[in-house]
């Protein structure tokens, strides 16, 4: 086993210290990004390990593989891959994370929202709106969302983002990135559509109904497609 893989097997992160853990995780994922043998090995393992394979997900804007899962050591490493759908869709996360861009890129926007949606939506209400189709143009939504910082992320760019930030990653085609997340610090996260002013919510897998779990699972064909694109775009 390479020394980098061995390091990943033992790495431990405390996300209460965002500054220091951000620095350490950015350092780690940039070294992984620079080592194509390790990347290829991790993707192979992700597809051949039943537990990791079952954690792969498909979403409208993004597919991901889980490369390493270490909840007891404070992190999960994923490979993100853009789909053919590219949209400006502000969201936050249930966890803080660090990411490095491998190919493609995205317009990255940090937003200011005028409304505390966590205060105006109860968890019970949010549980009923887990996807766009169930979202109503609601009186519960927000008035103003505005960009505070805009930048183009390009291959090699690397950053850490706190769970409280509402941001957009408006992808270009064929965007791959490494994404190292910490433990969930809240039960739900926001997604919104700035144009239609609809809000919907994401929950952890354990709170999602079976119907939704089945929908977000990545089938064999889709997994092979991600691997083929990874081989062609990232490893080549």
């Amino acid at each position: 086993m390479s020394s980098l893989l061995a390091e990943i097997e033992h790495a431990q992160f405390d996300w209460d210290d965002f500054e220091e853990t951000g620095r350490r995780t950015r350092d780690l994922i940039q070294r992984i990004a620079a080592d194509k043998a390790v990347l290829a090995d991790m993707v192979d393992r992700s597809l051949n390990d039943p537990a990791l394979r079952a954690m792969a997900e498909h979403h409208e804007l993004l597919d991901y593989l889980v490369l390493h899962n270490a909840p007891d050591r404070g992190f999960r490493l994923r490979l993100h891959c853009s789909t053919d759908v590219h949209r400006d869709r502000p969201h936050d996360h249930r966890f803080s994370f660090s990411s490095v861009i491998l190919t493609g890129g995205y317009r990255h926007t940090w937003h200011r929202l005028d409304t505390d949606l966590y205060a105006s939506w109860s968890e019970e209400d949010a549980l009923g709106v887990m996807d766009l189709t169930r979202s109503e143009p609601a009186e519960k939504a927000f008035e103003v969302i505005e960009p505070m910082l805009v930048r183009d992320e390009r291959p090699g760019n690397c950053y850490s983002l706190h769970d409280s930030v509402i941001h957009t990653t408006f992808t270009k085609p064929d965007t791959f990135s490494l994404f190292l997340r910490g433990p969930a610090v809240k039960s739900r996260s926001i997604i919104l559509d700035a144009e239609t002013r609809r809000v919907w919510w994401r929950f952890g897998a354990e709170q999602e109904p079976a119907e939704r779990r089945a929908k977000v699972g990545l089938g064999d064909e889709a997994l092979q497609s991600v691997q083929e694109r990874f081989n062609r775009l990232v490893l080549a």
Binding site: F18, R26, P147, L149, R151
Partner: protein, 254 residues
């Protein structure tokens, strides 16, 4: 040859900084085009001391200098170089204006903060928490709203950015030291260097983490302070030598 602001980007009309997203795209294209054109950069840099208005805006400050290359208030932009001359501490701050920047040389950590309550003299260190930490390097461009609170400590002397800023949106902008700053100057030397400064409205040469001050524009500064901050010709020429070595401009010093 002098390049006037009107000859820069004649196709660009007034930049609308209230539309940050749209302006970000236009500014990014403008910054990359200017930085990629050595003849234009050469004309702009050597043109600065030849233009009394631009030259009066070229400044030396505690940890960095600026050379103003173009000022077009009608079209709502001003182009300048930000040039770091010594290690910079982490200072969480807002700007008086929204702006775009392109890193030409050097690397630094760009932090964006969440601030509890208003950001003013009553703000303490615990009120300002980093929520986005980005590794910025050569070729990176970002555009930021004047109400965003961030820091871009240029920790390597000789780090250079090209900045396209909009009009001032407020008279002064808040700044909070998040780490200590030491100075080799004695108290008397510091007082002499800061002559004419308004209390609470200048960047201290020495400070402890948690120190707060306001940054003001040139209209908010006394004549004594302005003359202290005016870039000296020898400092301009030193920066020219750095820019020549970087390949950003041609050597027209001799």
């Amino acid at each position: 040859m002098q390049t006037t602001s009107a000859s820069l980007f004649p196709e660009v009309d007034r930049l609308d900084w209230s539309d940050l997203d749209g302006t970000a795209s236009r500014c990014e294209a403008m910054l990359r085009e200017i930085a990629g054109d050595r003849d234009l950069m050469t004309a702009l840099v050597y043109g600065a001391p030849a233009d009394p208005v631009l030259w009066s805006k070229c400044e030396e400050d505690a940890v960095e200098d600026k050379i103003v290359l173009c000022d077009d208030p009608e079209r709502q932009f001003r182009l300048r170089l930000r040039l770091s001359k010594q290690y910079q501490e982490e200072l969480a701050h807002q700007h008086r204006f929204s702006f775009s920047t392109l890193v030409l040389r050097g690397r630094y950590l760009h932090r964006t903060y969440r601030v509890s309550g208003d950001f003013d003299a009553g703000t303490s260190l615990d009120d300002v928490v980093p929520v986005w930490i980005h590794e910025d390097g050569p070729g990176d461009v970002f555009t930021i709203h004047h109400e965003a609170v961030h820091s871009t400590p240029l920790v390597e002397a000789g780090t250079v950015s090209l900045i396209l800023r909009g009009p001032a949106e407020k008279e002064r902008a808040p700044v909070l030291f998040r780490e200590d700053r030491a100075s080799e100057l004695s108290a008397d030397e510091q007082a002499e260097a800061l002559a004419g400064a308004v209390p609470g409205e200048f960047e201290p040469l020495e400070a402890s983490a948690g120190t707060f001050f306001w940054r003001v524009g040139e209209q908010g500064e006394s004549a004594t302070r302005r003359s202290k901050r005016q870039m000296r010709r020898e400092v301009f020429e030193q920066w020219c030598r750095e820019l020549i070595a970087m390949g950003v401009i041609e050597d027209r010093l001799s």
